[in-house]
Amino acid sequence: MRPILSIATTTVGEAIRRRVLLIILLIGLLFMFVAPGLGVLSARSETTVLRGMMLGIIQLTSAVIAIVLTVYMIPNEIERRTIYTILSKPVQRWQFLLGKYLGAVLALGLMMALMSVVLIVVFILQPGGTRDFALIADLLKAPAMYFVQMSLLAAVAIFFSTFVAPLVNFFLAGGMFLLGSLFNPFFQTLQENPNTPAGAKLFAGLVNTILPNFANYNVQNPIINPTQVIQNEGRYYIEVTMYGVIYIGILLVIGILVFDRREV
């Protein structure tokens, strides 16, 4: 366990100093600060648009960070040859991969926490800002779910990084994220359409079963537009987190199997 934690903390230290990540984060934060100024987009729906935009910025920034952070993680270690100094010590490959992954998730968590703080600050400081802390707590449900989502995305990227080049991985993981984000609604449309052929339904069902469904974590709609009360929402959060953890487990185990056989 000790080597895993050491590798994880070192990875965090490295990640939070990577310029490209900091730039992405900075752009995200900048957008969050200027978002309330985009008055053209807000109508009488008051903070609806602001909420939607802010959460969107957090999600998008986190996704880009998650991918950029993880696709280069293993290749960088190999290129800098630090992986050899580590693997020649009594460190198993699975420990190395797990440590790297945990480090990525921790770094992501830190950056997302920072964005969430900015989210709160902007909401309190904006003109006519809220002091309603129940509302703020409600707002924070989305970033919390995004964190699970991004952890899953990081697992996808780190899984691919055990056997493809970073650039390919960037598009693979990014594509997977888009697909996984869009498939749920698509699948629902298919299912609700009585004209869908049975074969297509079956196939779509299969894909929906196998695909990492990132859309599961897109819980922002009722938060942006608090018009409906959702029963058992807490339970859903637990279930969907479980789903994420299981899926991350699958990706990491396969990743370890591949990485174990890989010549670095």
Binding site: L41, T227, E239, I246
Partner: protein, 478 residues
């Protein structure tokens, strides 16, 4: 890794795969699609992160298209608030989407209404600014110029020089449909520029003849027929309303417009309940078609002018009009020389926030907006109209309008404070109370004796009207 270890791991993977699949299909997905899916129409969001990603990747037009489809769904469900940001985004992403500009403008101008279908006038400047922006971004086609002109013409229904400007601009564009050219003539007439309207009609007639020679289709024929018919009636009206006589230096007495007719305006406003008004009054014009504008607004409403607003005070498309201000505008329909309307503003707190202390009640009548059969008496510019008490030539330079205003307080409107038990009653000094309601049971039946005549006095509602010969109470009926 040892082979046995690997096969254990493979088994673990298989179990986990089944577990996640089951969780996804049995638990997560049904819950998600019920509560969180945005395409279900139950909820809305401005823009999904995925859509934002598309935008960032440069698929602006594609995204604009997707958003517009989405906005369409909101139209279906009546979720109008959700459409505004989408419209703004689409126009920003793809300024060549004329349909979005046009629809957006119409949506902003017409769709925000209260429970009694009164438009939210606070949005009109936004609609006009959007139209202007659309025209500027698409200067090669007539459409946005025409649409903006239409908004001035139909929705503002007051500053006709603005609609004339925009309709003229639209006619400069080659792609304007011939049938859409006539409206400029109407706007010119309402703007008091009858001569120019006539010139335009002659020009349109020449154009129409030339067009029919090139293309002897049914459409060309019809368009020309309309122009000829409009030209015909305009000439007749110019004669009837004494314009030709005036031009030729002949006295215009004997025409309908002379001497001016006193409309005998009086009004009374009662605050029945908080934010519920009863507006009553007299308007001594018998034929239907009179609509008196009734406004209740913050006394310091930004850019307000008597009887209206500087509607194009800003070129910024501000979709967030003064939310804490009130601007209510309604039309009082005159029937049997009286108007009587209940104005209920209590159901729409977002439209009528009533946060200020002082308000202004306004009555405004501009004869330029009157239908042709009333203008036959009043003339294009109100030459044939007068009012003993409230005729006003200041609030609209060079025009004769009827205008009167009262200051009221928030306490009166909300029935707060000292007004909790007293019923606020505001009226013009000349308002004469009638017992009971005239509607239905107490209607006054009138004969219409003559086509010609001078001014009239408001009849006492109690006494049956017995007009003297040659002195008609009102204008010719329709």
């Amino acid at each position: 890794m040892k082979r046995s270890g690997a096969s254990t791991l493979l088994a673990v993977i298989a179990v986990l795969l089944i577990a996640q699949g089951a969780l996804q299909r049995a638990v997560v997905f049904p819950f998600w699609s019920k509560n969180y899916n945005s395409s279900g129409g139950k909820v809305n969001s401005a823009m999904d992160p995925q859509q934002m990603l598309f935008a960032l990747l440069g698929f602006r037009e594609l995204l604009a298209g997707i958003l517009w489809v989405r906005a369409d769904a909101f139209f279906d469900t009546g979720n109008y608030d959700a459409i505004l940001p989408l419209i703004r985004l689409v126009t920003i992403l793809d300024p060549q989407e004329i349909d979005v500009y046009a629809t957006g403008m119409w949506h902003i101008g017409y769709n925000f209404t209260d429970e009694e279908q009164r438009s939210d006038r606070r949005y009109i400047p936004s609609a006009l600014a959007l139209g202007k922006e659309g025209a500027e971004k698409n200067p090669d086609t007539y459409e946005m110029f025409f649409e903006t002109g239409w908004m001035w013409w139909h929705k503002v229904d007051d500053d006709y020089d603005k609609s004339v400007h925009w309709f003229k601009e639209s006619q400069k564009r080659a792609d304007i449909l011939p049938a859409r050219k006539d409206i400029l003539v109407q706007a010119l007439q309402r703007d008091g520029k009858v001569e120019e309207a006539l010139d335009t009609l002659f020009r349109l007639q020449d154009d129409g003849i030339a067009r029919r020679e090139r293309d002897p289709s049914h459409g060309a024929d019809q368009t020309l027929n309309t122009v000829v018919s409009n030209l015909d009636s305009t000439l007749v009206r110019m004669v009837q309303r004494g314009l030709i006589a005036e031009e030729q230096g002949r006295p215009i007495t004997g025409y309908d417009v002379s001497p001016p007719f006193d409309v005998g305006f009086s009004a009374k406003v009662t605050v029945l309940e908080p934010m519920v008004l009863r507006v009553e009054g007299t308007w001594n014009v018998l034929p239907v078609g009179t609509r008196v504008r009734f406004i209740l607004r913050d006394i310091d409403y930004p850019h307000a002018i008597p009887g209206g607003m500087v509607w194009d005070f800003s070129d910024d498309v501000n979709l967030d009009p003064p939310r804490d201000k009130t601007y209510m505008m309604d039309q009082l329909f005159v029937k049997n020389r009286r108007f009587n309307r209940k104005v209920d503003m209590s159901k729409d707190p977002t439209m009528y926030p009533f946060t200020s202390d002082k308000y202004l009640l306004e009555f405004y009548y501009n004869p330029r907006s009157a239908p042709a059969h009333i203008q036959d008496k009043f003339g294009w510019n109100g030459e044939g109209m007068t009012d003993k008490n409230y005729l006003n030539t200041d609030v609209r330079k060079g025009q004769k309008v009827v205008y009167c205003s009262f200051e009221v307080t928030r306490d009166q409107l909300l029935r707060h404070g000292e007004w909790q038990d007293k019923v606020p009653l505001i009226k013009t000094p000349n308002f004469v109370e009638r017992k009971g309601s005239y509607q239905g049971k107490d209607e006054v039946t009138l004969d219409i004796p003559s086509l010609r005549g001078g001014g009239a006095t408001a009849p006492s509602p109690k006494t049956p009207v017995t007009p003297k010969p040659g002195r008609p109470l009102t204008m010719p009926g329709n």
